[in-house]
């Protein structure tokens, strides 16, 4: 008994050590960026290892909101990201379910084709995409952007949802059917809650794709009032003479919603199978 507790203590101790080590590795470059945001006069690099620079100030953060339309960019980005996230979760959860549970003609082809859409190097798609969007009058519209983002994020999400549904035994749906639910109710009330970890990943991934994407947005959005955050951040950069202070501060602020979203969603990253399901 004591041996078991001893082993557990070693295991836990080692675990904490590993976690702290990796946290330091993850944190260090990010602290550098925080550092950049505190330095006056746009210094990207520093010649010392110190964590807080001598003449630190929060001026850059203030300047973001007073001298640049940072708040507007945040609103725009939030809007686009939320639409992409909601539609991503909606479409991926249903399409992935269809792929997991049903057999139909072209299923394998359909799955493969989802992958295929990802294989093309994005840079070569710019010219034809622009021509296509011009002809559809979607240039400089949020609808154009949302469509493009969904198209890039959905394949992974659909596939991933399917993979997760595959791990849920079909006996659960049979049990639901016996209890009198129709197919849609089984899906909605029983399967979805169990698949919540995958839904979390889908939501997070969709959000990230829309929140951080630059290339497509730069090509589509032509009005500065419609700019999303990545475009705004790019405007701090010039070939020589970027405004690193503002860039650093903006980067820090832009990271926060992602972390908050992740934290709030991660309470659903819990094994749904333990939520009172089929036994035996």
């Amino acid at each position: 008994m004591r041996q078991r507790r001893g082993k557990t203590a070693i295991r836990l101790g080692a675990s904490y050590l590993v976690l702290i080590l990796f946290c330091c590795v993850a944190l260090f470059p990010v602290l550098q960026i925080f550092n950049i945001s505190l330095r006056p006069a746009d210094r990207l690099l520093s010649t010392s290892l110190e964590l807080i620079p001598g003449n630190a100030s929060f001026d850059n953060y203030a300047a973001l909101f007073t001298e640049r339309p940072f708040f507007l960019w945040m609103v725009n980005s939030t809007f686009v990201a939320l639409v992409v996230t909601c539609s991503g979760v909606a479409f991926a959860s249903t399409t992935g379910y269809a792929f997991s549970r049903y057999r139909f003609i072209g299923k394998k082809f359909g799955l493969l084709s989802l992958l295929v859409t990802q294989m093309f190097p994005a840079t070569m798609l710019l010219l034809p995409m622009y021509i296509m969007l011009v002809n559809l009058h979607l240039i400089n519209t949020y609808l154009g952007i949302v469509i493009m983002y969904s198209a890039t994020a959905l394949p992974f999400c659909i596939w991933q949802m399917k993979g997760y549904y595959d791990t849920i035994p079909t006996s659960l749906e049979e049990a639901g059917r016996i209890d009198g639910c129709n197919q849609f109710q089984t899906f909605y009330k029983i399967i979805l809650p169990i698949a919540s970890p995958a839904l979390v990943i889908t939501a997070l991934f969709s959000f990230m794709s829309a929140w951080t994407e630059y290339v497509v947005a730069a090509q589509i959005l032509q009005d500065t009032e419609m700019w999303t955050l990545p475009l705004g951040l790019k405007s701090f950069e010039s070939n020589m003479g970027s405004e690193w202070g503002l860039y650093g501060a903006a980067s820090v602020i832009v990271t926060i919603p992602v972390v908050v979203l992740f934290l709030s969603l991660s309470r659903w990253l819990v094994s749904g199978l333990t939520l009172g399901s089929v036994k035996g």
Binding site: A41, T47, V83, A90, L127, V134, L143, A218, G241, E243
Partner: protein, 414 residues
């Protein structure tokens, strides 16, 4: 809850669809002109001020400026113009002109402006290519100069020997730990553009007069050897320095001098440094000045601009190129104006930085506008960096650069 998500996204989608239906957005009947450029924030602020004044004078026009990073400006403009769209005006350095002209996406302008109006400007501000005028510039420069920290360097060096001497005196190990704490000179020396002044100082140039690459020359090899001398013999420059590293060394006072362009001066002043600007030194052994590339920065017109808008576009360009507006920009940015009245004005004559800038520009060489220039930059880079890494001799590098440049040009023009 998830059903709610489905409903919500469906409603938003339909809302968005509604918004895109033409006729739903209020049109204001104004003539819209868009300018794309790659200028940093200080320039943008001034441009916006001037645009606002223009719109007050002409309320029937709406002008917008859009910033794009240099490479994206070029590729974005090409994509948009080829698709029949794009901004009415594109503003940037003159090397854009070559590729844009060949792709036939900008308009020749010599018939659109009055010859007396054109005569008000420095001839170097008008970019002609293959017999036509494609760009009119309000700023001249984009040139490298020697920038020095006045607290450390009271008088700027005038020759390369002086540069090394002053550099040596200022390269010090302040705390005796064996590592150099301050360098005499730092700059982005790994980038070909920042090497050009030394190539010219030793008698070379990137092209011959017919526009073919001429990289295999004494100028190239001696220039390369000189850079190596600075790093390995005189040891006045850091081991590895790209643009950001050199910039921060200078800002922190860990480099006494830096070679940087006119876009950087205002930033150093804002950082609290007392800087002086001097022309790049003269090479004693050849008697030649180090001549950087000089480029105008100006306006070109998109080929897709229709007849009725053209008049307004020209009006806007004439306004932005006017003497008062150029003086405003010069005062705040220290860029060299192109309007003759402003060039010879008291302000320019009395300002030390601008005076020295003028001298450097007169020493400089115009940047070629041919598209082959890109191939030349690309060909120079690998061999140049190999010499710095010690894996190639200077003579080998010069030959390689030339061979690669010829090959790239052939590939580009097939």
């Amino acid at each position: 809850m998830w059903g709610g998500a489905i409903l919500l996204s469906a409603t938003i989608f339909s809302l968005l669809l509604l918004l895109q239906v033409p006729g739903c957005r209020p049109g204001d009947g104004k003539i819209r002109i868009t300018i794309w450029h790659q200028d940093r924030i200080d320039v943008r602020v001034i441009l916006q001020r001037q645009i606002d004044r223009f719109m007050k004078i002409h309320p029937e026009v709406k002008v917008e400026q859009l910033f794009k990073e240099t490479e994206e400006l070029r590729s974005g403009f090409i994509i948009a113009a080829l698709a029949g769209q794009g901004p009415e005006i594109v503003y940037g350095p003159s090397d854009q002109v070559g590729p844009f002209e060949i792709m036939n996406i900008i308009l020749p302008m010599e018939t659109m402006f009055d010859s007396t109006w054109l005569a008000c400007y420095d001839p170097r501000a008008l970019t002609w290519y293959r017999g036509h005028l494609y760009q009119v510039a309000d700023k001249l420069g984009n040139h490298l100069t020697l920038v020095y920290n006045r607290k450390l360097v009271p008088v700027a060096p005038a020759t390369d020997r002086e540069l090394i001497e002053i550099g040596r005196k200022l390269t010090v190990d302040l705390n005796g730990d064996g590592k150099t704490d301050r360098y005499g000179l730092a700059w982005n020396y790994t980038e070909p553009f920042f090497f050009i002044p030394f190539m010219t100082g030793f008698g070379g140039w990137i092209m011959d007069d017919r526009g073919n690459p001429a990289l295999d020359s004494r100028g190239t090899t001696d220039g390369l050897k000189f850079i190596k001398e600075l790093r390995d013999v005189a040891k006045i420059i850091p081991n590895e320095a790209d643009y950001n590293v050199a910039d921060i060394l200078f800002k922190d006072g860990n480099a006494a001098m830096i070679i940087n362009g006119d876009w950087s001066w205002a930033g150093y002043q804002k950082a609290g440094l007392d800087i002086g600007v001097a022309p790049l030194p003269r090479i004693v052994s050849t008697g030649l000045w180090c001549e950087p590339m000089v480029s105008p920065k100006g306006f070109s017109i998109n080929r897709n601009v229709g007849g009725d808008k053209k008049a307004w576009v020209l009006e806007l360009i004439r306004y932005l190129m006017s003497a008062e507006n150029q003086l405003e920009a010069t005062r705040e940015l220290f860029t060299m104006p192109t309007h003759n009245d402003v060039r010879h004005s008291d302000f320019v004559r009395d300002n030390e930085i601008l005076r020295n800038s003028q001298i450097q520009i007169d020493h400089g060489r115009p940047m070629p506008v041919v598209p082959e220039l890109r191939a030349i930059w690309d060909a120079m880079r690998p061999s140049y960096q190999a010499v710095l890494a010690g894996t190639m001799t200077a003579e080998q590098a010069a030959r390689e650069m030339q061979a690669l440049a010829l090959r790239r040009i052939k590939e580009m023009n097939e």
